[in-house]
Amino acid sequence: MADDAVETDDAAPEGEATDQPMMYGVPCTDERGQTVLYPSREEYPDVLAAAAADGFELCVDLCAVDALTNRSRVVPPGVELERFEVVVNLLDMRGRRRLRIRTQVPADDPQVPSAVGLYPGTEAPEREAADLFGISFSDHPDPSRILMPPDWVGHPLRKDYAIGAIPVQFKAVEGR
């Protein structure tokens, strides 16, 4: 089962010249034993495709982070910090290894290419991230709200969305 994908195996860490470990052509760090990649938004689909071809067949999780108030992030040199991050956790079931991909997403244009075409299982997590953070995933097949009501205003998990300050929004159901 795990044979046909290995041919595009250009995945070995490369670019030793700068001392910065690289994987799939993007900076990579080791966080207490967990491998983390930092692609730009443009590199993100290619990195996902390279990881999928390298054996990371199961996309465990996709979530977003709002780092508006977080001043303590440490990333490899060359990675530009933005307000939002889309964090993808991949799993290689044969090699029993995990991979985390942190993509920086700017606040003024919160848009990321969707991974649903590659990993159909990211459909609901991407809808959740879009719903709660207002990050839009381009080419997502169903970009509707998933947890909040469809007519809800705002994105609750953003750091500038206060808790307890918003009255509960009720809506009437017609014909009842």
Binding site: M1, A2, D4, A5, E31, R32, Q34, A49, A52, A53, G55, E57, L58, C59, V60, D61, C63, V65, D66, A67, T69, N70, R71, S72, R73, V74, V87, N89, M93, R94, R96, R98, R100, L118, Y119, P120, G121, T122, E123, A124, P125, E128, L132, P141, D142, S144, R145, I146, L147, M148, P149, P150, P156, L157, I163, V173, G175
Partner: protein, 429 residues
Amino acid sequence: MSTATTPVRRPADAVLRISEEAALAAAVVDDETEVATESDPADEPMLINMGPQHPSTHGVLRIAMELQGETVLRSKPIIGYLHTGMEKTAEDLTYLQGPTNVTRMDYASPLFNELVFCLAVEDLLGTEIPPRATWIRMLMCELNRMSSHLLFLATNGMDLGAVGMMLYGWKEREEILRFFESVTGLRMNHNYIRPGGVAADLPDGWQADVEHILAVLPDRLEQFDTLMTGQPIWRDRTQGVGVITADEAIAMSATGPLLRSTGEAWDLRRTMPYLAYDEVEFDVVVGAYGDTFDRYAIRLNEIRESMRIVAQCLDKMPKGPYRTEDRKVTPPPRARIDESMEALIHHFKIFTEGFRVPPGETYVAVESPRGELGCYLVSDGGPKPQRVHIRAPSFVNLQSLPHLMYGGLIADAIAVISSVDPIMGEVDR
């Protein structure tokens, strides 16, 4: 492999992509007319809403289904009715208060939620927990897996018309919850596993209670086998219903019994061991056909495997402290508070301000009864987390539902929903 490259066998449009309003508008059809139109197979596909108050939807799951006669075509789970913003709440609680929040997500297996959160916090802290705490966690989690699967057997039986099974399942589960109450003080939502260890040591006589559970349960499981596993009606209702292949399951990011039913022996306890699972013997139960029966049989037999692990925990339970001695995360012992002002201040600080966790981010996963339960935790160095994301297995597994139900009968849809075993508290968080 290549789940990513091979297309899923079923039409990719098994998912019905309509808005909630459109689904709601189609819902204003009363039951009488539905029955009348369903009897005519030449009719156009019709849209009906199942739930969110339907008794077989395990809480508040709503499914918009397209029906051709009695055959389910496309469908879409509509969720969010139980959304209470628990991930947002978690950002406002200290790390010590965190378990009280996450334990309410998957309310059928609360200890797993506490466990994964605490493992994430401990990973960032770099804290080692004492062996006894590890083994207590394993003991409690395996008992919790048993109670969770017993709850599944109860509701699965009820959904398929074996109403007696509901009473039997709840009854056995209650035995385990009674033990939980004696250890943690609560039947559910325990807040027992805390960063640094567990909240309290096991009470005197815990071995006898656990031995009682282990002694009683095998006979009851035999009874369940008689009542359901071998019954032709049960088999007719479940075999070949809601089939999924390994490739499809992996593509849909499904984990847990849903993935194992396809023959994929993926169990984090075995494949990526945490706690002390590499020191106990157990078998990973897998299915062969990926159908509803396999998922039922896997859970039934996982109870037996968990009993094996619990028995080993009984034998191997080490002595020693039940929480770390690291004074950074553990309050001083009660006796010290009476004699030392510093201990009192220390105690007060830990429970009011909380302890600080070094900046960083981590992802930790455990095998919950429903699949991979993960916690992505981001800290900025303060006493409260920046971001707590729980990778809820029910939430992700629910995506497979349209694929499982596609082309099946509406009566089988009930069996399929039940076999995915979603816990809505975890789905909506």
